[in-house]
């Protein structure tokens, strides 16, 4: 079923923001806890926005390849 590809592609919007935010959290170990938390949350939001664009490109790429 081709629609399963959309679910698979959507995993980029789950994996990328969490991986990036987790990285920021551990890298910012010396900062004030509240600033560290808010920074990680903001980074997560930006990464989620960018990864939805990647998701859309993946779906478009699959659509083009399938119709050629």
């Amino acid at each position: 079923m081709k629609q399963a590809y959309v679910v698979l592609a959507s995993l980029v919007t789950f994996v990328i923001p969490n991986a990036v935010a987790l990285g920021v959290w551990f890298l910012a170990g010396d900062l004030d806890p509240i600033i560290r938390s808010l920074g990680s949350i903001l980074v997560w939001i930006v990464a989620f926005g960018l990864s939805t664009q990647l998701f859309w490109r993946l779906v478009q790429g699959f659509f083009r390849r399938d119709t050629q």
Partner: protein, 322 residues
């Protein structure tokens, strides 16, 4: 409260929701509270604002629980008030078609009872990290933003028979299960009543729908997801179950015409064979339509499959990745 009593209240919620939705599905058509089912040939007229039946069942059963518990559980009262407030905003939107920009503020205001009951410095529980301390930002910003964002997410991923109520049932069931495992009584009760209410409504909302949920039903579902998450400390699980709606919302937000894609490019069209064709703007349902031919029923089952996948992921992460 014992298990048979809770099961009885859940059954009551399902029956009340079904019976009132059945009544409203004919009453609202006579009253002219209708919408066109645009994804079917002939675009039949269908009753709108069916979420009112879920709101009615939810409020009735919540009052029964509150009476049984002697109004002593203030988080339960605050959660019920917040979800009801979101439902009332949805009703106002169904009647007046209010502008998109006003809704987040009004739903954020509906979260005031939750803010009051959770007042104080707090943190957000995250897997692998533990507690993310956010201090007073939690009641002041996290709570109203979570309710407003979640309600708007569920309001955007909508428009197909059974999609809104089906997604609500799956997402709310996952969070209710986790809340029960955490022994969070108010969150479990709220979630259970909502799941049963939306299940009763889904019988009439499933393809071919006799009634649509309207903004009353969609905003309440999102507010319910946020409320359960906040009351039971399941913020990360709520984020995971909201990924499908979040993707849809973000795709529409970052497009050249945020929220205006439908106005510019038109609606999804349906062919004589019942297959849907997506207009040229990004949205989650359009992604499903683009990768292969789909009928409305097939599309809804695909999105519900995705919702089930992320709900299962949320449960797995919460239980095993602490």
């Amino acid at each position: 409260m014992n298990l048979p009593a809770v099961a009885g209240v859940g059954l009551l919620a399902g029956v009340l929701s079904y019976v009132s939705a059945r009544y409203l599905s004919t009453k609202f058509v006579k009253m002219g509270i209708t919408g066109n089912d645009i994804h079917k040939p002939g675009k039949p007229v269908t009753a709108e604002m069916g979420g009112l039946s879920v709101l009615f069942a939810f409020l009735t059963c919540s009052v029964v629980i509150m009476l049984a518990s002697g109004y002593t559980i203030s988080p339960l009262v605050a959660g019920v008030a917040t979800i009801t407030g979101a439902g009332v905003v949805g009703m106002a939107d169904d009647f007046t078609n209010m502008r998109q920009r006003y809704k987040p503020f009004l739903i954020g205001a509906a979260a005031i009872p939750l803010i009051a009951v959770l007042w104080g410095p707090s943190s957000i529980e995250m897997p692998l990290i533990g507690a993310l301390p956010v201090g007073y930002i939690f009641p002041l910003a996290v709570v109203p933003l979570a309710v407003a964002i979640s309600a708007n997410f569920t309001n955007m991923l909508a428009g197909f028979n059974g999609l809104e109520a089906g997604s609500a049932v799956i997402a709310l069931a996952a969070l209710t299960l986790l809340a029960a495992l955490r022994s969070s009584y108010p969150a479990t009760i709220i979630g259970f009543i909502l799941v049963c209410g939306y299940l009763g409504f889904l019988v009439l909302n499933w393809y071919p729908a006799k009634i649509f949920p309207g903004d009353t039903g969609t905003l309440m579902a999102g507010a319910g997801i946020a409320t359960i998450a906040i009351l039971a400390g399941l913020e990360f699980a709520a984020i995971v179950v909201s990924i499908p709606a979040g993707i849809d919302f973000t795709l529409k937000m970052v497009a050249k015409r945020p929220f205006g894609g439908r106005r510019v490019f038109g609606d999804t069209t349906v062919g004589e064979d019942g297959h849907l064709s997506a207009p040229a703007y990004p949205a989650l349902v359009h992604a499903f339509m683009r990768v292969g031919p789909l009928t409305e029923r097939g599309l809804v089952l695909s999105v519900l499959g995705m919702q089930a996948f992320y709900s299962a992921l949320a449960v797995t992460i919460t239980l095993f990745l602490r």
